[in-house]
Amino acid sequence: MQVTVKLFATLRTNRFKVKVLDYSSGTTILDVARDLDIPKEELALTLVNGISVEVDHEIRDGDTLSLFPPVGGG
């Protein structure tokens, strides 16, 4: 199945901004992060189709996944 993965801020470093990737059904957000070599602690916010979900959420064909690192400055 095809999933659009959008990376934000520092998660883009040595990776990409947006890419369509192939995954098998049953893949979770955490699996995608592992595949992209993103440590779990660098995932502060994970969206599927614009809705905030947990990292164990299973993604579906056609989903858009957006991954954000923590932001804490001011």
Binding site: L45, P70, V71, G72, G73, G74
Partner: protein, 276 residues
């Protein structure tokens, strides 16, 4: 009642059907607490003062540093070395003498936050570290004050309004602070000077809307700003019934300083080191 000068000063507000004279009077009798007079705090304080928010409380124990001036626009070069709250108070007095500024030249803690926060209608977050942000958020839930959230790093920022039971609180979305060292500070990673301006003005807008009770605030929506591509993403965020603060069976019902020390901001540590 507005004076003749106030009718002129706020005429562009009064012309707005959403505001009118009544709305302006409401702002003049409103009390907003601002945590931090730094990057985010500067534009928030400047615009809320110009808008005629009657009382602005500003909490910050820090002093103005040369490296602040690239973004902390409420302070100027002659202010280097002064308390940020003193410098901010002076700037605000020049912009709008209608505003009463209450300064707290200290850092916010679990011990002092209750007494300070209970005096205000709403709190705006301009702090620079996770420990303080969790403290302010938890206190806002416990003391039932709307919390206008903002944070920035490098070229990215976030903003939202947290006011449970209407929408989630900060902890519903971000249950725990990231482990120490996992997130670089602004001092380590940098921040584009205009970025806090962008996010701070969004926070000020949301604060005014909340005080006036107009429009649709950023409740249940987290705004994510990517300045490099100038993309605004809106995330739908929901309440977590297991949230330790605003959930069905809260475990955080009182504030203790030891619960907000697990991680500290590198920036704050570094600045403390510098001051020594």
């Amino acid at each position: 009642m507005l004076t003749n000068d106030q009718i002129i000063r706020y005429s562009r507000h009064i012309l707005l059907p959403e505001m009118g004279g009544k709305g302006q009077e409401k702002l003049l009798s409103s009390k907003v607490l601002l945590i931090g007079a730094g990057g985010l705090g500067s534009p928030v304080a400047l615009y809320l003062a110009a808008a005629g928010v009657g009382t602005l409380g500003i909490v910050d124990g820090d002093h103005v540093d040369l490296s602040n001036l690239q973004r902390q626009v409420i302070h100027a070069t002659p202010d280097i070395g002064r308390l940020k709250v003193d410098s901010a108070r002076e700037t605000i007095a020049q912009i709008n003498p209608d505003v009463r500024v209450v300064t707290y030249p200290e850092y916010i803690t679990a011990t002092n936050i209750g007494g300070i926060l209970s005096e205000y209608d709403l709190v705006v977050d301009g702090c620079d570290n996770f420990a303080t942000r969790y403290l302010v958020s938890d206190a806002a839930v416990i003391y039932k004050k709307p919390y206008v959230y903002g944070s920035i790093l490098r070229l990215d920022g976030q903003a939202a309004v947290f006011n449970p039971p209407q929408g989630p609180c900060y902890r519903c979305i971000f249950p725990e602070a990231p482990p120490p060292g996992a997130v670089p500070s602004c001092q380590e990673a940098g921040v584009l000077g205009v970025l806090p301006g962008l996010l701070g003005v969004i926070q000020a807008t949301e604060a005014l809307k909340m005080l006036l009770g107009i429009g649709e605030p950023l409740i249940g929506r987290l705004l994510l700003v990517d300045a490099l591509y100038m993309e605004f993403t809106e995330a739908k965020v929901a309440r977590n019934k297991n949230c330790p603060v605003c959930g069905e069976n809260p475990t955080i019902t009182e504030l203790r300083d030891e619960n907000y020390r697990q991680e500290t901001c590198n920036t704050e540590l570094d600045e403390t080191e510098e001051e020594k």
